[in-house]
Amino acid sequence: MLHQFWQNPFNRKLCIIIVSALIMCGHNSFAQTFESKKGLIEVLQELIEINDSKNRNIENKIKSQTEVISSLELIKDVKLNPSTIRNILFYSDSKFTSLINQDECRFLMMLETGLIKTGTGDVPTLIVDYVDEKQTPKSSIVTIKDYLDFKYKTACTLNKDVRELFNNENWKKTLTASLFKSPKNMEICSQELNKLVINTYFPYIASLGKTLVDFEMNKQNNKALSRSFSSLKIQYKEIVDNLELFDLNLLRNIYKNFDNAESFCAPYIANDVWTKSLNGEVPKYVLEKRCELISGKNNLSQEQLTACVNTLNKKKDICSKGDAKGQSLYPSPDCEKTSEALKQSRLFTDYFDCPSNVENLSLINSSRVIKHFEKTPENSSNFCSGITFKVLYELYEKAKQIDLWKFQICYNDRADNSEICLPYIPGEVPDSPIEEGKVLALAMSKVNGTSEKDFCRIVDKKKYNPALLEYSTGCLIITDTSFCSPENCERKIVYDKKEITNITYKGDLRFDYFPNNFIKEQYSLVNMIAESTKKKGKIIRSLTDLEIYFKEFPDAIVHGVGCGEDLYPEHFRKVALNQCNPVPFIISGFQMEKGEKRIVFQSSIDELHSPRMLIWNMVFNSVANFKILHPLNTWTLYGIK
């Protein structure tokens, strides 16, 4: 701590002032210490001890006084004791003491808001000097509140107004009017910061940032049990519940960096989506999901996310690894290109899915379209195809077509020797009663007499080891969690280490994305989505159509189907006449690159959080080549809003 203190140039200056002041006090012990030519750290350590000792002496002296003042009302003038001034210089952050600048009102406001401190204790008190009725100079300990009330009677009445403006009822309104929006360059940012620092409200604004930072630091350092923590928690919650992420980060940034324009402005002038996500300009999940992909951990702290941003900006190839589990097309674009695309992407992506585990890419695309309009985040899971199938199941439920649900777990009913099939949602879907593990357990209970309350856990075959205790009991579905679709899956059901063979899975991955014939038109996924979400579609035939559509409808996306070979010529080669592997995709934005328009493109084989930027012609060509193979000759590119 002392080392950090010494590194700050202001502190060094301050130290010299204090050292000089103490020399002038003629303190012998200090003179001896100074003469002994000890290191500066040791000198500072001793200075703090000396200061504490002096404070203790003064406090003891005051406490021993028989005359204790209960109110400052009868006193004409009150001054801060030099020891209090010394304490302020010792215990307050130098960047705040430097702001005092001989402005008493600002000093009092900073004292009131806790930006400057008089000690380490929880109860804020001061030692003051005054002259009593008999004109005898005396000292006393008073609370900061009493001191401020006394001072505000005669001076700084504006401070009382500002206090009102930042009370529980008004603070949000006052704050919102005082904060600025994201500045776009360094010059504007510096100007905005300067304006903010000289604003009368600044101490209150900075104190809100202090509450956020102090709470998060205490929580991280496991100081949650301290007495002051509970009141801090209440204040923290009040702030967090009332402000947007951008403003929360702005408050943190003001508190930490208002004295350093370069550090303060860095997040706002940074052009990458990661920094923008960190400071709230784009949704926070954009960064969180990316960091989860590269670290394999979720619920990362603000500090971990900040470190992640640095990594993403330094190691650009780290994003090329995509999901790193082998569930989507590899490699993904690098971090720079991903960032550029994500800045313009409007697609909601606060969840994970896995194309290889679903196999039919139209299901992935449908689920992504539905999730975009639902905007409900999903927690990560071990077997993420569950999210896609859950969304699809809900679509069938809304369309009242549950009878057509194609995924079932079947067993033979011994009573009448008939096959009973139960519908299930493949994968892990903890909030659904027909999650695979629950339905399998139910089927097991019917045919093998196990408990209905059992749950069958999905275990990756690479991790499964029957010798381990965790795999020795209960019901397990052992499979390759990276490569298992309902139709093509090598899975083994094990109960108490014994393989179960009298239960079977049934699945059919055939779905119409766009209608393939007029008779079953209403059962196509596109029509079911339009019906259930009440969203209208619009055919998109040109780049101009696309641009107008996006400008007109800020939440609209465009989805379609094209030949994979035309969308990814670097991955899939054409060797035959009319060869086409249909790949559904979503267009979620567009932007200029080197003077040319690029489409922000999220295809169903790509990792959800790794969009690419394509030329419009490639997309157009892929749709045109698919159109000639479509049984209804459909142009498969539609906007949905």
């Binding site: 190839d317 779905f511 080669r573 006449l577």
Partner: protein, 353 residues
């Protein structure tokens, strides 16, 4: 922007999507055709009923039956001995790059296709005596000798890319070169000796953002390496004599500081190779065209004029460029309608037979 670039831009803007190349002329609609022989004597085409037909010598044969809307891909080679056929029975209902299709072989002169297995990305090798195909869920390449029961498999190691398609070249009956990805996602060429059951690394690419293409033309092997991402811009094509098969004997015949889409064809004509080149540097804008590289002097000639070419195929000796649903002829014969192809009335009656 220089005057020539400006002129190019204006011209291409005016003629966007229009090519000066000859269009492939066929008697029936191109979307139903799956194969046209160079001499026009053989046509394979599909119908909505789901069947694939062979039309030759004024006769029509139903080669394969399928469910409605089945889709077929027909793959040939320069040996022109056999044709491979992939049948996708859920083409319009299961958009999957990893499902397995039925694979058939149609031998020269026969009018009956024989099913030989199921998988993806089938390819003919060694004068059409062998066939290989990928089984994505098994992650194996299956090799079958066409006129015998001989069959063997190679297990692949790729884990990170479920949509990976290996490049495969058979050196002889016992030796194979193929591409794979290691656990870190790096591409490499592996040489497999079947007799010794021995795998040796032929080439390892140290960057995860690069892919490899292999192409064999008789006694020459071509290895192309292209960047897949912005951060790895470079394309190289090596030539190696088949009798000195070692990267130490490779000579670089082409290099570019940009990522070419590639899709190399090396066996269309002697003395030249074809691929899709990134022409951004030359044209100062995004531009891809099919080029023909002369092996003799390493010069290249731009064959296409569509600006955004991505693929071209060797259809039994005709180099075709598919673009916006139209097939343009880069080299070869453009008018195939003067040959064979029955009139619809005759065709229907033959089908009924």
């Amino acid at each position: 922007m220089g005057l020539s670039n400006l002129l190019f831009f204006i011209l291409t803007s005016l003629s966007f999507g229009k090519s000066q190349l000859p269009e492939l002329a066929t008697k029936q609609t191109i979307e139903n055709i799956r194969f046209l022989s160079r001499d026009g004597k053989y046509t394979l085409y599909q119908q909505n009923s789901g069947s694939l037909y062979l039309s030759t010598n004024y006769k029509v044969y139903e080669l394969i039956k399928g469910v409605q809307n089945s889709n077929y891909s027909v793959i040939g080679s320069m040996a022109r001995e056999n044709l491979l056929i992939e049948q996708d029975q859920s083409f319009q209902q299961n958009y999957s790059l990893i499902k397995e299709n039925k694979i058939f072989i149609l031998k020269k002169g026969e009018n009956r296709a024989i099913e030989i297995g199921s998988g993806r990305w089938a390819k003919l090798h060694l004068e059409d005596k062998w066939v290989s195909f990928l089984k994505p869920y098994e992650k194996t390449i299956t090799f079958k000798q066409i006129n015998s029961g001989l069959e063997f498999k190679i297990k692949l190691n790729y884990q990170l890319n479920p949509f990976f398609i290996p490049e495969v070249v058979m050196i002889n009956d016992n030796e194979i070169l193929y591409t794979d990805l290691n656990k870190d996602g790096h591409s490499g060429i592996i040489k497999y000796n079947r007799n010794q059951n021995k795998f040796t690394v032929f080439l390892k690419v140290p960057d995860i953002n690069r892919k490899i293409e292999l192409c064999r033309n008789k006694d020459q092997l071509f290895v192309a390496e292209y960047g897949l991402n912005h951060s790895s811009q470079k394309s190289i094509i090596y030539q190696i004599p088949m009798n000195k098969l070692d990267m130490g004997n490779a000579s670089i015949i082409y290099e570019s500081q940009l990522n070419d889409p590639g899709n190399l064809i090396c066996d269309y004509s002697e003395g030249s190779i074809y691929f899709v080149k990134n022409l951004e540097k030359e044209r100062q804008r995004t531009s891809y065209e099919v080029v023909k590289l002369q092996l003799k002097d390493k010069s290249y000639k731009i064959l296409s004029d569509v600006i955004f070419a991505s693929h071209f195929i060797n259809m039994d000796g005709n180099l075709l460029l598919p673009y916006l649903g139209v097939y343009y002829v880069l080299e070869g014969s453009s008018d195939l309608k003067k040959f064979d192809l029955l009139k619809k009335d005759n065709l229907d009656s033959e089908v009924k037979k």
